[in-house]
Symmetry: D5
Subunit: 135 residues, 10 copies
């Protein structure tokens, strides 16, 4: 089950400057809530839980007063491991949990999911607005 | 024959946020309606139907009230397998069928077709407008 | 249904020299005989036939008295399009049909199949022996 | 000699939607009108004609009432094979011939020429304007 | 817990020919039995179980009388998901389980594990001998 | 300890033209102030100092009256080798030191740090504004 | 028409040492003798000659008493430009002409031809034997 | 010594259309005026001249009334071979010489220099403004 | 100073099977004992110690009775950080220390060092012999 | 003029072990003795000397009693800069000079020259024999 309570933050060391932090997390895995596009009911009875999903999560933000602590982010992402969740919900949930924790000027979460049923999916969501001076 | 009736949708879990969904479908195949640039009449008599075309279809959209269900999209794309259809028509047809089913804020379909006659073709079509806040 | 009767040959223009011919055919497609690892019974009822498989076929040989004619090879490979066949059988069948048609000194068929169930499969089969002078 | 008379068109199946067609033609070859940067007079006397040039031609457009027919485009590009023509003229000539034939909303021709004298050249020319809603 | 009982086989369709089957499984994940090189005791208390490991498993073999059924292999590999196991043991265990199930002429299992502590590890193990006629 | 006193400059040879200088420095290394995401207290006692971090630093700027001298920049970056410093602070510190030394029209520092805890981080900071005529 | 009379040689500067010379010629073009797999009779009437083929020719050899002069090789390869010739014949013909001209210890010619009919072909031929000391 | 007098031009064949010419010149070499970041005084005494620098020069422009002749450009770039010159000066000097010769609507010169002291440098300079209709 | 005393081992879980372990360590850094090819005496006085070297170390072995423990290997490699050592000595020293600790059937150490003076160096050393059954 | 007198050596630190040293030198440049395949007499009169050649030199060896000192190798390779020399002679000359200086167990020199006349050339020469235990 997602554990946003694990997220920790530290004070932004350069709060007056709108710089960007980008994190690439290639080891995200969760379970599909209904077995998934590639699984049928029979095969799931053989195992405890649903079919696994795999994704690379890209988390980009302009920090406000605090930054997310890296080790706590790792633990938070691990907490999806045995959770059944849809792609669209996972990406938006991470965005909600992280933006609640760090209150960024701007934040984007991109989930790049592995091929399922011969189709590769990417979900992109964001909150806030990039400041005018940004490229 | 294209089967838009196979397309199913589910309620968008984050309807108030203009996030993006991108799907890459590398296993699209259909038949050329007239045998194709690389085939002549003789060789087609030897087989039932026209010369095959192959493409990767990229389907990108900002969902409105609903999202397309992934397994139903896979079945819909399979339904072109033995259909004779021109490149331009296939891409625009998929855009019409999908945008009718999900009524997106914005949708783009890109068909990247394999080399024929030493020429590689890409067709890009879209409906709706990206919202101002998007990158 | 595979159509080995479509295969045509022409006389090897340099029969005394053990040279090699390598062909890469990235547009092989067939159907899975039982719906396939990623499909269940319900979704197949929606369409006529099984779930499609996709592969690149590599066909390499040292010709004997004849070479395979390229256009006839293309038509032969197209004839698997609506045939339900397992990976292992498809590769060995192509090797059988082609080696019967061209009686090569040596021939290898490699089928490199697209990801199914998160697993990518390659099947390699061959007949005859490379001559001692080969690299 | 360039043969614009070979170009054929067909009615645009979706005339009301400003979609894009991109074609990549990696097998363009012509002759250099003066022997070229890498050739001297002596060596050209040994052969009939000038030194060959090679390029990939990229042809991108938003169709108006008609689209260019792919097989006729292939034949038109072949017609430069034994023609002596400068890079700048070849790219602009193709743009002139094609835009006269299809009267596009917007068209771009890019010639990406092979290394000559240790220098690689790319020429980009276009007519018309992209519509405001385009990316 | 690894579930070799999930593995199923089917009769080799070409038993007399020593052909090869290669499978690439990029979605293998298990847990580290002691928290792993990158984790300390505190952070693991926050979650149920150890730190996750990720690998691509390559399984290559020359079949004897039977082949492994692909869907059952997928389920078998999923069964390591919440199992605490060392790299060296995981690779050798998979080799033991699979070679017991299919009794191959030759089999190789290669585990290509993600970076831990700035170090990437690959483990290769095999049983049986390639036949003399093989490449 | 960072040594901004090592930075030297030379007069910009084309001060009236707003051109850009981009430098890629793939050999940046420092120490983590608290042992880092992948290290625990025990292992650090075995060595003098913290766990090492590695990054590629990208330094891009539009020079004003002076340019940074390349050899002095190399020595300045070496001076972080045995310094314990957080990612966010390192990138912003380099930006502060360099912009103080060369007073650029515009400057950007990007730190692309190696994977730690399965997560790759990039930090981007900048001062000044690109002039209107820039791309 | 192929012009082996254009080939010139120069004395091998290190005749006692069995070293290797490898040449990659990406600009080989000829015509297909019968219009080719992708052309029909109609379209060829529109132009003077057959459908063009394109290949990269790799020419590798251990020189004996002489080496081939590079500019003369370029002219020789140009002489195939308007010649109708099959793939297998072109590669073996070049091997015959070049080995007659330079009498190498060992020579290999590899023709890597562009995709035709969705199939890519490579032809490899050689004369002589590599000396025992070679890798 | 740079030889701008070697530059020759020819009349732009399409003067009314603002098309672009891009040239990539990977074989630029000059000498460092002071021995360079990687050399000391001793080692330079052993040779006549300074330490060599290597770069790829990218020259892009929208021609006005004339275009630069390719062979003369090659000779002009060769003339830097034994000249001692700083990176910033070389790029701006080439921009000055070329823009004086061809009076372009817009011109950009980019020098991408090889690694020195573990640092890779790129210098970008330009004159004129891209016309509004450009991409 | 290299600290072989930090190396720890654990019992090989499959001692009867000659399997291989390959480790890629891209974060090796040490100091050059004499300032290095790219540094002169002046610049080194400005810092404490010599010029840094960077390498990726590849460590491959067939274990005997024990395997090297991964975290202890990481610490051992860190211990070269402030040690002045030549390339050839570093690679052979690591091979000596590791083979003394794990007494492998076969072991290879490859040091792939970053460009210095425009030259990239790789050093490969090994002890023991691969067993006959290995590839 | 090549300056083998600049080559210096140092005692092999591990003389009893047949390890390998590989060096990649991408900045080799010399002049063509006769202007080269791409130049004619006129253009060379405009400059002092012949047309430049560029290559990457790969130098691999198993050291005997001594190793080549890296900085002296760099100076030796620089000494070809203004020397007119054929490809085949340059590679064999470097092999002669280096093997005379270091008396290796085995040495290989590979010259990978830039495209000239649309043709890329690689020359490989070696002396000595790899020891039986080598891969």
């Amino acid at each position: 089950m997602p554990r946003p309570d694990l997220l920790e933050t530290f004070a932004n060391p350069y709060p007056g400057r709108p710089y960007e932090i980008e994190m690439e997390c290639p080891e995200f895995t969760s379970l599909c809530p209904m077995g998934g596009i590639e699984s049928d009911a029979e095969e799931l009875k053989a195992l405890e839980g649903g079919a696994p999903d795999f994704a690379t999560m890209y988390i980009n933000y302009v920090p406000g007063d605090v930054c997310v602590e890296l080790k706590s982010l790792k633990l938070y992402l691990w907490s999806f491991r045995n959770d059944g969740i849809f792609y669209e919900r996972a990406v938006n949930r991470i965005l909600d949990d992280l933006s609640a924790a760090v209150k960024p000027v701007w934040m984007e979460v991109v989930g790049d999911f592995n091929i399922r049923g011969g189709i590769k999916s990417v979900i992109r969501a964001r909150v806030g607005a990039r400041t005018p001076a940004e490229k």
